[in-house]
């Protein structure tokens, strides 16, 4: 459905075929893993409740993976995605609980917080000319402080029952939160495939010099990419709000590493210029299946990180093995 493989105009043909290969492999892994899990758990996985749970908790990793992917597209990184997700959700919850505002105001406010912080990240990167990794490392600490500052160690709960109900609702057997994530993924895919702005980001990421010579402002690409990344983190924050029913200052702490895992497994290169929405979504699904397997088999949860690490490394080695060395 979200099948788009977008490569910058400047990228070479082998890059594209490598990406397609990654997606095919990921589809195969997803299907095989799902079938194996289904068979070994005696069909337990196909129960409507189980499928709903799998998809429900896929929503946030998926959106957060896309949030990282957008900045990777321009050759940047965003370390603040996790804490920004937390900040957006805490701010929205605070507006609803403390200020008594309706979700119709709080949800847009969360998105605004995300996009605003993303914009600030982008502007800082452009103004200081410092590696985005370091800039977002600094803003990550600041945001973590702000996130904690909203409500301290307290927990917000009992906000907008309607929103929480929506988070647990399903349409045609698919959870609403998952459908939202899917719509976001399609929007991101269309953005990179069909809009001038999206193509410009890929051109800037693929080859900044060529992009500049063709009249593209790389600075603007950086700011746009960071803003979209922040907006997506804001959306993830709203999804957390809908899913959990209570939020506190620790939201988002465990999202940073998965945010890199999904796009990297999905075949997005760190150097920029290449994105794969489908690959990122599939990778998020594969990582989710590791969680599911842990729950289904009652495995010690500590194994999950070990396996995910292995999967990330394995996926990268696999794709590089086919391509051969290209950088240091």
């Amino acid at each position: 459905m979200t099948s788009t493989t977008e490569t910058a105009a400047v990228a070479t043909q082998p890059r594209r075929s490598r990406l397609l290969g990654t997606e095919v492999i990921l589809i195969a892994i997803s299907v095989i893993a799902f079938v194996v899990l289904t068979v070994t758990t005696g069909g337990n996985l196909l129960q409507p409740g189980t499928i709903r749970a799998i998809l429900q908790y896929l929503a946030v990793p998926l959106v957060i993976g896309l949030s990282q992917m957008v900045v990777l597209a321009v050759g940047q990184m965003n370390l603040s995605v996790g804490v920004l997700t937390g900040l957006s959700s805490v701010v929205a919850a605070g507006l609803m609980v403390d200020s008594g505002l309706s979700p119709w105001i709080a949800v847009p406010a969360a998105l605004l917080v995300g996009a605003g912080v993303g914009l600030a990240n982008g502007v800082l990167v452009v103004l200081t000319r410092i590696n985005g990794f370091i800039v977002t490392l600094a803003t990550m600490t600041i945001i973590a402080g702000l996130r904690y500052g909203v409500n301290g160690t307290g927990t917000y709960e009992g906000y907008s029952p309607g929103l929480v109900k929506l988070g647990r609702a399903s349409v045609l057997g698919l959870p609403v939160v998952f459908l939202i994530a899917l719509v976001v993924a399609i929007a991101v895919a269309l953005y990179f495939r069909n809009t001038f702005s999206g193509r410009r980001l890929l051109a800037s990421g693929g080859n900044p010099v060529a992009a500049r010579l063709s009249g593209i402002s790389n600075d603007r690409s950086l700011v746009v990419a960071h803003t979209i990344s922040g907006l997506l983190a804001g959306i993830a924050g709203v999804l957390v709000l809908m899913l959990s029913g209570s939020v506190n200052a620790s939201i988002g702490d465990d999202l940073l590493l998965p945010s890199f895992a999904a796009p990297i497994i999905g075949g997005v290169v760190l150097a920029g210029g290449v994105v794969s929405v489908l690959g990122t979504c599939l990778a998020a699904f594969v990582v989710r299946l590791v969680d599911v397997a842990q729950a289904q088999y009652n495995i010690n949860p500590r194994w999950v990180d070990l396996v995910v690490g292995g999967v990330v490394l394995g996926a990268v080695l696999l794709s590089h093995g086919r391509e051969g060395k290209d950088d240091s």
Binding site: M77, L124, L127, T128, R129, I130, N131, F133, I134, V135, L137, A138, T139, M140, T141, I142, I143, A144, G145, L146, R147, Y148, G149, G152, L257, F260, A261, I264, L270, A271, N300, R302, W303, V304, D305, L306, V307, V308, G309, G310, V312, L313, V316, L317, H320, G321, G324, K325, D326, D327, S328
Partner: protein, 355 residues
Amino acid sequence: MGEATLTSAPAAPPQEDSTTPSGLPWWANPRVGLLVVIVALVILFSALRPSFLNVDLTLVPMQADLSVFAIVGLAQLAVLSLGHMNLAVPRMAAVSAFAAGLTYDRLHAPLVVGLAVALVVGALIGALAGTIITTTGVNSFVVTLALDFGLLGLVSLLYAWATDGVAFAVHPAGMDALRFDTMNNYCAGPVCGPPVPLVVPIALVTVVAVGVLFRRSRVGREMLMTGSSLRAARLSGIPVTRRIIQAHALSGLLCGLAGFLLAINNGAFSATIGDQFLLPSFLAPVLGGTLLAGGAVSVLGTVLGATLTSVIQKGLNLLQFQLDQLQILIGVVLLLALSLDRVRHVLAERRGVRR
């Protein structure tokens, strides 16, 4: 601190800015700026809270913390010299500390043996990371990120297997002395040492050793050249693969030392060792003027960067700032330091000094 400015930049003279007439004004040197800020903050904090200069409450613990975070910074600096990153710093420290704890717990080994085990284990994991990077050509960020994931799971599995799940209960002989004693406890007749914790000399020796490595030794210079330009280094006959693996092994070794020292400071070899290392590992070198691009490092700057963060943390703690305000401030300091760096670049370009 007695040693000279340990800024190293092979083949690229502009780094010796402060000493050359054609270079930058002295105030644009990030290390001078850091020193000024540190002194100003110490004066400010002492004025606001005289207990900031209290030896037992503030100065001794601060030196112990500082020793750990300077080493953590150096662990990152070792690979920044190549233009690489090590995101597995926290978990390399954790696994090394586990290895040391296990040695004490099962073999009842003396303190030094456990330290050696921690260093070796750290270096081996680092070398593994370096080997994966060089043989596959995959970005160091990705490799160490995946490694961190893997080791994160491994550490908790190991502690679950070997201990009650949280920490080793063992206390090797000498651990408490290393933890609580200062040089003040050791007297030659009427003359006692300064109130400096015993972990400080360990850290100091390490700092000097790393400084000498990058400034004077062939291996260190070749690491920097590799970071400066991989192609040029390879064409000049530098064994770049070996240097990359060595730099990562050094990073792992320093992680091991940091993990060991933190365990000593905490009084226990526990599963949470290293959890807080990732941010400081970048903070210290970057504040000190080491760039992510590779090819140049500042060991003294890293120590100053670690000092600044320790002073800020301790001072704001005494002023009863909350955790959140502390984090915001540290982030802002980092951004300001970066902006200063930008000013430095602009000035350098205006004066026609091309990097």
